[in-house]
Symmetry: C2
Subunit: 407 residues, 2 copies
């Protein structure tokens, strides 16, 4: 017998009455959707105005992919789940490492909890870097577009994905990598009818194309078609994003970059300060590992001086101590440096000039990571007639909205 609700990370979720699909659209600044609707490219999403729900929510800062995907699937901030970047300084190991292994996860997911309670759960993510985190302790289907052809029943709960989806495995740098996620979701809904499905795309298009421009509208037209099929299949759909996206250039299209490691080396000498850019991941061609959030480790006696100097740099919006940053952004203190730096909307933070390869930036840099990319859509295909008043919605309320508030 199914339970009527389950509790995960101190939040209660009602058992789904129909299939629930939560979609995390990577880099989905709200204007991508409104511009696509305005251009006539997203008739399904446009048609939800009236019958559905549209909130604007705050994502987690740093406004990066891994911290926010994990927040969404755990219903909690990084102070609870531990994933506060794609990349971090592992003080215990004494090394800079990717934070994409499930060993770094400090709590269970809503997905695993529902599966353990008897729900049929499916997860599809564009890039494989998220798969092991999202699939942590999950009894169900979990695979990436990137490695769809390698999926096996023991490892992924499914095989023959490519023939199920009917699309070849796309390049990791393509809009098709995200289309594969949606196409797989529609096929899985038809064949498996999961109780709960989580779909997570990649922001390859959003890093390149501004809201309302042809490539962006093409992407949202594609998404709109698949969402309409999931809607027609009777699913409850909630669409949110891991973070927004902004231009990070001057009017000529040249990136506005503050190279923090070079500055710190100049002030204090080599090997005194260590700049960590948590946007860093194996796929940096489209953003050059440049985002609007950095954290710095340095000796105690330099912290106050560094904070003062960094806060005076044009383009820097916030300089916070570890303590203040962890309180404000709900981050795990043992995975954050002595200082946290956030740059303003049009500026990104780099480490050293020599460490960033900008040759892959074929179009003006668009990126994220800061407070300026914190506003994201939280949309549903059903009404929510009695939402709490004055609530600050977060993207990690997506399952709460889907399971507890939609009619």
């Amino acid at each position: 017998m199914q339970r009527s609700s389950i509790t995960v990370n101190n939040r209660e979720y009602q058992w789904p009455q129909r299939p629930v699909v939560v979609v995390c659209v990577d880099g989905c600044e709200p204007d991508y959707i409104s511009q696509a609707i305005e251009a006539g490219a997203a008739p399904f999403l446009g048609g939800l105005n009236g019958r559905g729900t549209c909130l604007t929510a705050d994502c987690v800062v740093p406004s990066f992919t891994n911290p926010n995907n994990l927040s969404i699937v755990t219903g909690s901030p990084p102070s609870v789940h531990g994933i506060c970047g794609n990349y971090f300084w592992d003080a215990e190991a004494g090394a800079e490492v990717m934070m994409n292994d499930a060993k770094y996860l400090r709590t269970g997911t809503i997905l695993a909890a529902f599966a353990a309670a008897g729900a049929k759960v499916a997860v599809v993510t564009a890039k494989d870097k998220l798969r092991s985190l999202l699939g942590h302790k999950l009894s169900g289907i979990c695979f990436s577009s990137e490695k769809a052809n390698e999926a096996t029943v023991p490892a992924n709960g499914i095989d023959n994905v490519v023939s199920l989806v009917g699309m070849p495995v796309p390049s990791v740098y393509s809009a098709a990598l995200s289309e594969f996620v949606f196409a797989a979701g529609v096929k899985l809904m038809a064949r498996e009818r999961p109780d709960i499905m989580y779909l997570s795309t990649t922001d390859y298009v959003q890093h390149k194309a501004a809201p309302g421009t042809p490539h962006a509208n093409d992407f949202y037209a594609m998404m709109d078609r698949y969402l309409s099929l999931l809607d027609a299949a009777g699913a409850t759909i909630v669409v949110t994003a891991d973070h927004g996206m902004n231009a990070k250039t001057d009017a000529f299209g040249r990136p506005n970059i503050v190279y923090l490691q070079d500055l710190l080396d100049g002030w204090f000498g080599k090997d005194v300060a260590r700049v960590i850019l948590p946007i860093t991941d194996p796929y940096v061609v489209h953003h050059g590992a440049l985002g609007s959030f950095a954290t710095v480790y340095l000796a105690d006696d330099h912290i106050a001086d560094a904070a003062k100097r960094i806060s005076e740099i044009a383009g820097v919006e916030l300089v916070l101590s570890r303590k203040d940053a962890c309180a404000r952004f709900e981050l795990p203190p043992d995975r954050v440096g002595d200082l946290v730096i956030v740059s303003e909307r049009l500026t990104v933070l780099g480490s050293s000039v020599s460490r960033h390869d900008l040759s892959g930036l074929e179009v003006p840099l668009r990126s994220h990571g800061g407070v300026s990319e914190q506003r994201v859509p939280l949309i549903a295909n059903r009404p929510a007639p009695s939402l709490p008043a004055g609530h600050r919605w977060r993207n990690f309320d997506a399952f709460d909205l889907a399971l507890n508030h939609l009619r």
Copy 2:
């Protein structure tokens, strides 16, 4: 004999060695230009990358048209020139009035000072609301596109403008109103060869079209053609903006509005608080008088309570006392209310629901007024080889850049 330099509002400007044209592109978020260049719509501006100058500057907050145009032509902030909105509460007169009469201007302009010193000066503005302010005590040419057919030699220093320009007088709600400004500038450069010319457009297009979308690119392609003609005529050109522009909607395209007067009336009763929206002007069809800046007058004993309540509203970014706001934004205290409220990037501030006509909003609201619209381009067609390091550039440094720094 011409002087080698003149001093206006405590800043020194070198006498121009060739015609200088300063262009204020209304609502020109930097990304409008970079996206137009990227789309191939602005080859002249794109070609300046390498031979010209591109800075990103801060405009005056409130990021509205009149305060910033007057800052640019006086080289000073509103605390000096007095124009801190399009609209204000005239405490002396006991009335809400437009701030577009020259009697409100508290200092002279760079334009008038050069003209008085013997320079030939020409000013063309799109909307007539700016004409009397920009033309204050100016011996020279000064007219608006809007009333180009009414220009007379005694009033405007020129007549027969329509036949000179070769375009009919455009609608006040059109891209052509701005095109008329550029077309007039090119004709004036050929016939009059002014030493100093100031061109100021209107943001009709920017309120409707996002950067990189077809209507926006069409506008910048038009601008690019006229700028290339001014460049070919040998003019020094500096392009800046009065303010940026952002989407102010949710993902469905519905405006995010905080109605401050209704909230204050609910908390304190009718006629206790007076909300002033300094974006208000006679031409509100395209923005519904909704921007991201408001000021509130209210009795002393309610100020602290109101500040606390307003700061808790979702979408509010800053609540400042008159004193703090005037210090931070360099505003004249006698023309600012007891509180200043700034909303975040995707949210606007209204007064009462009943006072805003949103029927003219045919496309998702885009607007300005806040800190989120403070970053603007500051571009020139010549190099500036020795700019001061670490300088915070302002849009009202446009004449300083043009006359003192370009080679």
